[in-house]
């Protein structure tokens, strides 16, 4: 195959970026999208040109490192697929492919197609866990969890933290990412004691990091490689409302924070 690539090149976080046109020839239709970029890069390196920087690691759709906007769509045209699992047989010979980084204020560009997603880590740090120190756990089968609840929790726990939801959202909202963790832990009995503080702290942190608000349009769901659904956002919003109400200072009762 022969493809005409329009690739975003940006030497550093503060440098000005531009599209570079690259002629990619002799591409196997069975190669993955990233293997196509590997080949382009090898050819550039042997000519002494700097290769295209892009994040990748496991190349089997689970680490969440790869992160390309392909023809305007995060992770490209296939549903439920990360960039590394996208194969060139999906494209036409001679096609022009535009490749850009995730674009969001909270994800500044590091170089070319690589962005800084540490804001996601900071959201998890705000409360995306169950506070249980090593050694203090009870016998595992003392905590029964219904199969339906466990399966539903798994569906949200499967989030790979890639950030496609943010890249697809016109508001650059992180709500699907945040909601997936809130739902995963909120559906399990182990997650109940911290359910209120978790949702309040994680959503507040997402705001601080510069992610936008959710306006329920669902681009996130459409591009999520793990097909996490918007109903999780509804659940997180429900938890937010309930917990915000419980956290309100009421007459004769101090709020948790001021106590």
């Amino acid at each position: 195959m022969r493809l005409r690539l329009q690739v975003w090149r940006q030497p550093g976080p503060t440098a000005k970026g531009r599209f570079q046109e690259i002629d990619a020839t002799d591409i196997s239709p069975d190669s993955s999208f990233l293997e196509m970029l590997d080949l382009v890069n090898e050819r550039m390196e042997s000519k002494g040109e700097e290769p295209i920087a892009f994040d990748h690691d496991c190349r089997e759709g689970i680490c969440g490192a790869c992160s390309l906007v392909i023809n305007g769509v995060p992770h490209g045209p296939d549903r439920g697929t990360t960039t590394c699992q996208l194969h060139m047989r999906r494209f036409r010979d001679g096609e022009t492919i535009v490749i850009e980084p995730w674009r969001a204020r909270a994800f500044p560009v590091v170089r070319d197609l690589v962005v800084d997603r540490s804001a996601f880590d900071r959201i998890i740090r705000a409360g995306g866990y169950i506070s249980v120190s090593t050694g203090s756990a009870p016998e595992a089968n003392l905590i029964p969890v219904g199969k339906e609840a466990a399966d539903a929790a798994f569906d949200d726990a499967t989030c790979i933290g890639c950030g496609a939801c943010v890249a697809a959202c016109k508001n650059a909202s992180a709500m699907l990412f945040v909601a997936a963790k809130i739902t995963h832990l909120g559906l399990l009995p182990q997650g109940q004691p911290e359910r209120d503080s978790r949702v309040l702290r994680m959503i507040a942190r997402a705001d601080e990091e510069g992610f936008g608000s959710c306006s329920n349009q669902g681009e996130c769901e459409a591009v999520c490689p793990k097909e996490i659904r918007m109903t999780s956002i509804a659940r997180a919003n429900h938890d937010l409302r309930e917990s915000a109400w419980r956290e309100l200072p009421q007459e004769g009762r101090n709020s948790r924070e001021s106590a």
Partner: protein, 637 residues
């Protein structure tokens, strides 16, 4: 180099308990005064960093990925073993211990393995409390499956994503400690060297991958949790970033490296399709529970699988190993596939493949039941190959997957350099010559949650540690060495890309130091590797600058270390003139073509000591004794 394994004596059931009692404790008020560096944030590293911080130590953690959540443990599929005996099928700590020692072909330390089996039950408790969504039964209790040749169902799993869920549990525990200010996290930071002062590991030199800045970190102890080295084969199931640099640099600073030739070739991977290929994808071996492996009885048979009737199919594992059938251990299944393909019975365009067929299970259980068990794996196979495995059998072939060898550690998980601890796949300790399925996750988490937090305390409490900071001349000296090496890589300005060297090295290793090894082949690798290394330093094309985000430079440094390591792995394989576990020497086989182990000569771990670039390394031996599991020739017939 003195190898003192510090293995406790007495009845095996009480060794770890007694050892724990005998170890010194660090006064709670003093813990925060001790600093510990943890390199790598996979299952072992993340669980260790979180647990050490919970105890009150001052921890700094490092990973080369942009987030600790992306370490390659995340890709483990099948499950994690634990001797809970929830199935009432006769499992016990002793049986898990026995199976692991036997599965490792009698090349692991009994005391370590027993401890691992004991701790396995605590790991499940811990992970469930963290909210890991393990598979459940309708009554709400945990489900189990049989896995990788075990005859009891002791494997806990979360669909085909067990590693992901366990890693996210450890990552979340780590995140909580980072938020509390007890762990300082350094993502996109790669360790490039170890700093040893007065014989004790006191720090590391790192490169910030986003800016290129070289930095030093000093501490009272260093923990390497940097994974395995399967990527020496270029094509493996490991993530692209997995590398040997951290443990190789530690080896060059004096840490003994044990049994590097013990590598695991996993039987169920998607076959290689072409030259462009950058990695191989594992299909969890849990698939062997319901899939049957076969090749046509007629060599070179090109009919589609569906048109080959049963009587013309050779279910060779069921034929050769009637007792275990498709569930024989990984090394046995891999070699059997290679044997059939070498004999001309392979399938698929390259003829390097065998069928893994679900036809019978789909008929027996229905497609929904199979989809429920393996849905994501079938989907992944479909995406990569463009074929539908519900209709046609999968094609599989063995691929490098895991490395049992690694830095030598004693019972306390400390290397031959005092203060340098090594956990998870990076050490050599628990799997002997072959790792059983669903045991890697168990070992990584056992080391990180439940072993290291005790043993490192003993080291800190019993070792005088004069204050050292990064202004010490040794840090400056090693920083200068790191700088010089980077400068050398960048100044070569050749025309041959790094990956091209890596591919050639990979082929050299796969052909001669892969599934089947001979003296002639190993000597070829030993002769060719130094030439290839010299070519690399003469003609490699590394672009860009030192002080910037430079992936070309990152890869070059890792491949340069693999090029050095190649010789050691071949040398180790050459020295071990027996077949055992993942190491198959063609000179040492029975008349039926099964592996022949030689306990008289080789019942030991081989530990290598670096002697500088000019001299061959020195070989040391830790002899292994088996008081409980009497060595026998493994038989799965």
């Amino acid at each position: 180099m003195k190898l003192d394994a510090k293995t406790p004596t007495g009845p095996i059931e009480t060794r770890w308990d007694r050892h724990r009692f005998e170890m010194k404790l660090v006064n709670p008020a003093n813990k925060r005064k001790h600093s510990i560096l943890v390199v790598g944030t996979g299952l072992a590293g993340a669980s260790a960093a979180a647990s050490l911080a919970e105890l009150g130590y001052n921890v700094k953690a490092f990973c080369f990925q942009d987030s600790p959540r992306r370490a390659h443990s995340i890709a483990a599929q099948g499950g994690i073993n634990a001797a809970k005996n929830y199935r009432n099928d006769g499992d016990s700590i002793y049986r898990l211990f026995y199976d692991t020692v036997k599965g490792g072909d009698y090349r692991a330390r009994e005391s370590n393995v027993y401890r691992l089996a004991q701790i396995s039950v605590d790991i499940i408790d811990q992970c469930v409390a963290q909210g890991v969504p393990f598979a459940r039964e309708y009554g709400g209790l945990l489900d189990n499956r049989s896995f990788g040749g075990a005859q009891v169902s002791r494997t806990f799993y979360a669909r085909g994503q067990t590693g992901q869920q366990l890693l996210l549990g450890a990552y979340q525990a780590l995140s909580r400690q980072i938020e509390l200010g007890r762990v300082e996290m350094h993502p996109r930071t790669e360790m490039l060297d170890l700093v040893v002062i007065d014989g004790v590991a006191r720090g590391i030199v790192t490169r910030r991958l986003d800016t290129g800045k070289i930095e030093s970190f000093a501490a009272d102890a260093v923990v390497l949790a940097t994974g395995g080295y399967s990527n020496i084969y270029y094509l493996s199931t490991n993530a692209k970033g997995c590398n040997i640099t951290a443990i190789w640099r530690a080896y060059r600073r004096g840490a003994g490296l044990a049994n590097p030739c013990f590598t695991q070739i996993h039987p169920t991977c998607i076959p290689v399709a072409g030259e462009y290929q950058s990695k191989l994808t594992l299909m969890s071996e849990s698939l062997r529970n319901d899939g049957r492996i076969w090749v046509p009885k007629k060599p070179g048979d090109t009919r589609p699988a569906s048109q080959i009737p049963d009587e013309e199919r050779d279910y060779y594992l069921e034929r050769r190993y009637p007792a275990f059938g498709n569930l024989v251990p990984r090394d046995v299944a891999s070699r059997a596939a290679k044997e059939r393909c070498d004999a001309g019975y392979g399938v698929g365009p390259t003829k390097l493949g065998v069928y893994l067929d679900f036809r019978d299970s789909i008929q027996r259980l229905g497609q929904p039941a199979i989809a429920d068990r393996y849905g994501n794996l079938f989907q992944m196979y479909g995406k990569i190959t463009g074929e539908n495995p519900y209709e046609a059998p999968m094609r599989i072939f063995p691929a490098p997957h895991y490395t049992m060898g690694g830095l030598w550690v004693d019972y306390n998980l400390m290397s031959t350099i005092p203060g340098l601890h090594v956990i998870g796949e990076a050490n050599f300790s628990d799997h002997g010559a072959n790792r059983l399925g669903a045991s890697a996750l168990m070992q990584g988490l056992a080391d990180g949650y439940f072993v290291l937090p005790y043993t490192i305390g003993h080291f800190l409490a019993s070792t005088p540690l004069p204050k050292v900071d990064v202004s010490h001349p040794e840090f400056k000296r090693i920083e200068a060495e790191v700088d010089a090496r980077i400068g050398r890589l960048l100044s070569t300005k050749g025309t041959r890309p790094v990956d091209s060297f890596h591919r050639e090295l990979g082929r050299l290793m796969w052909d001669n130091v892969g599934m089947s090894r001979t003296e002639v082949g190993l000597k070829q690798t030993l002769a060719r590797a130094p030439e290839l290394r010299a070519e690399f330093w003469r003609t490699v094309a590394v672009t860009g600058e030192a002080e910037s985000f430079n992936q070309s430079l990152e890869r070059a440094g890792r491949v340069a270390d693999f090029l050095e390591f190649a010789e050691l792995i071949a040398r180790d394989a050459l020295e071990r003139r027996e077949s055992c576990g993942g190491h198959f020497r063609e000179e040492s086989q029975t008349e039926e073509g099964e592996a022949r182990r030689d306990d008289e000569q080789y019942m030991h771990a081989t530990v290598w000591e670096w002697q500088g670039a000019e001299k061959p390394p020195i070989q040391h031996r830790e002899s292994l004794g088996f008081e409980y599991v009497k060595p026998s020739q493994r038989s799965y017939k």
